[in-house]
């Protein structure tokens, strides 16, 4: 093919342009550490990386939900532990009261302690969290868990459970939910029994302001009340311990889910690195070869453009 003299300039300028654009692309890749500068560099990989990062976002959210849920479960457990202590104290008191050698005054003193324990259990069961929602009412978080009947402005027996037994669920995985709340359905019955014991151990006076009647533990009616109280306390203890164990089981499940999510997240991150991270050795070699090509072209052009017959004439 016949070559005109301006052809050299054209070849030189197009070679310069393509070499410079290659160098620039390699420099951009090295600066960002990513193989893809734009999605159009490799659409398939770009879509895969997009899906991986979306899954990462979901996993992060699940992990944060899990840690929020742990706090709540911890709170449930602590409160119920407190209630268990109260129940055990009441139980000890009952056992002591059942001793026939107690005098009437001893027994009346115990009665006020029993009343205090009953109130303490009531307050624990009606705990509100920082946002003013009742903790143990099931999903009816705007109503108290245990409500008594108000007589002369004083709330007293009979107590009823005014929450519900529905579960609050939290999403902790793809289509995986966990229950996060506890309801204290059977505690109302316990409170009523404690109230009955307190009244039996310290009966109201026959005439207001008059002397209170004598109480004897050996009296069959009083004994029966005390026994019923003791049984109620035992079953309440089992109930509360069972609920605490459920919380522990839930924490274990959360542990497993958390480590699963973390493992999947790790493998996603590795896949993202494999797909998108730049191989610096490869890039450095490419950069070197582009620069060499550029230099060689420039030198060759300098030589060739100096070749002219007019210099010889």
């Amino acid at each position: 093919m016949r070559i005109s003299s301006t052809q050299y300039q054209n070849t030189m300028s197009s070679a310069l342009q393509s070499a410079q654009s290659n160098v620039e692309m390699t420099l951009e890749q090295m600066a960002s550490g990513q193989k893809l500068r734009l999605p159009s560099d490799d659409p398939g990989t770009a879509v895969r990386l997009g899906r991986l990062s979306r899954e990462e976002a979901s996993l992060d959210q699940y992990l944060s939900n899990i840690s929020a849920m742990r706090t709540r479960l911890q709170q449930n457990e602590t409160l119920m532990d407190g209630m268990v202590n109260d129940v055990m104290q009441a139980r000890d008191l009952m056992v002591w009261a059942s001793d026939g050698a107690n005098t009437s005054d001893d027994v009346k003193a115990m009665s006020s302690t029993v009343a205090n324990l009953r109130d303490s259990l009531l307050y624990s069961a009606n705990t509100k969290d920082q946002e003013g929602r009742y903790v143990f009412s099931g999903t009816a978080t705007a109503t108290k868990a245990i409500t008594g009947v108000v007589v002369n402005g004083v709330e007293g027996a009979p107590y009823t459970f005014t929450g519900n037994t529905d579960e609050q669920k939290v999403v902790v995985g793809a289509d995986v939910t966990q229950t996060t709340n506890v309801n204290l359905h059977d505690i109302a019955a316990l409170l009523n029994q404690l109230d009955a014991v307190a009244k039996a151990l310290s009966p109201a006076p026959a005439t207001p302001g008059g002397p209170s009647p004598e109480v004897s533990v050996n009296d069959p009616a009083t004994r029966a009340t005390l026994k019923a109280g003791l049984d109620g306390l035992d079953s309440a203890l089992d109930y509360l311990n069972g609920k605490i164990a459920t919380q522990g089981g839930a924490q274990n499940t959360l542990d497993t889910l958390q480590s699963n999510h973390e493992n999947v997240s790790l493998s996603n991150k590795q896949a993202a690195l494999t797909l998108g991270a730049l191989d610096y050795g490869d890039a450095a070699i490419k950069l070197q070869s582009y620069s060499t090509a550029l230099e060689a072209t420039q030198k060759a052009y300098a030589k060739v453009s100096g070749l002219s017959l007019f210099d010889v004439l």
């Binding site: 997009g50 978080t141 017959l309």
Partner: protein
């Protein structure tokens, strides 16, 4: 030539040579750009539906340029605007609208923690979609107790509406015309994939077009360009021929002089 070359990079032109050596430049579709010494002006107007129209004004006539036949950079930009940019921005706003509608529908059936709201279907919407600006935003003045996550006004701790909303990301969005039916969580990735593929195709076509142009230029230069060495060789040849001829003339002159000298 150079000016016509740069003009042709903007639009497809046809050049006709006139008898007096000047050139007329017209668009492929016939509208005149340069006739003799008069030039046309091209302007852009924005239509109410935010698309754009090109108008060509030559002397006293105004033409509206139809899209699709322009070629060059202007044609390319127009094609991009219609086939890629519009489609993408419509798709994105459709995704936004789809999300807004699904979430708000789910919330409408729920109840918040506000105890005074007990009529069914009165859950407040969380998102708002504005069709004129095509933007999605959060409802202003929304407070925590308006978030209608519960399905029962008596149990504000219930979260079944919230679970429904969380499950929306696995539901298909059906109103995105460019993609058909996609899962809500996947719509964005697929749109990005479409843009990436179109862009890659465009880059490949650009590379091909550049190669063809370079080859054409090389061929043109090969036919009509000047090779200095070739010219130098010819120059020497002509010089020699000139010298030889000069020699012949000189010798003929001498012969003539000699002949004349004999005669005198």
């Amino acid at each position: 030539d150079r000016k016509i070359d740069s003009l042709s990079s903007l639009v497809n032109v046809q050049v006709t040579d006139q008898a007096d050596g000047s050139r007329n430049v017209t668009l492929r579709t016939g509208q005149p750009l340069v006739m003799g010494s008069t030039a046309a002006t091209v302007s852009v107007t924005t239509n109410p539906d935010s698309s754009q129209t090109l108008k060509l004004k030559f002397a006293t006539e105004t033409f509206t340029l139809t899209t699709g036949s322009l070629g060059g950079q202007i044609g390319g930009l127009d094609d991009y605007e219609r086939n890629t940019l519009d489609v993408m921005s419509t798709s994105i706003s459709q995704v936004a609208q789809g999300i807004t509608d699904s979430v708000n529908t789910a919330l409408a059936a729920g109840y918040g923690t506000d105890p005074t709201v007990t009529t069914p279907g009165s859950g407040k919407p969380l998102f708002q979609y504005n069709p004129t600006t095509r933007q999605m935003s959060i409802t202003p003045n929304l407070v925590t107790k308006d978030l209608a996550f519960s399905s029962n006004p008596a149990t504000p701790g219930d979260s079944s509406v919230l679970q429904t909303i969380i499950g929306l990301q696995k539901q298909p969005l059906t109103n995105v015309t460019a993609l058909g039916s996609v899962l809500l969580g996947d719509a964005y990735t697929q749109l990005m994939g479409r843009v990436a593929t179109s862009s890659q195709q465009n880059n490949a076509s650009l590379g091909t077009a550049e190669t063809v142009r370079t080859q054409t230029q090389a061929d043109w230069k090969s036919t009509s360009g000047v090779n200095q060495d070739e010219e130098a060789v010819n120059l020497i040849q002509y010089q020699q021929m000139y010298n030889a001829n000069m020699k012949v003339i000189a010798v003929a002159n001498q012969l003539f002089d000699s002949t004349l000298a004999i005669l005198t």
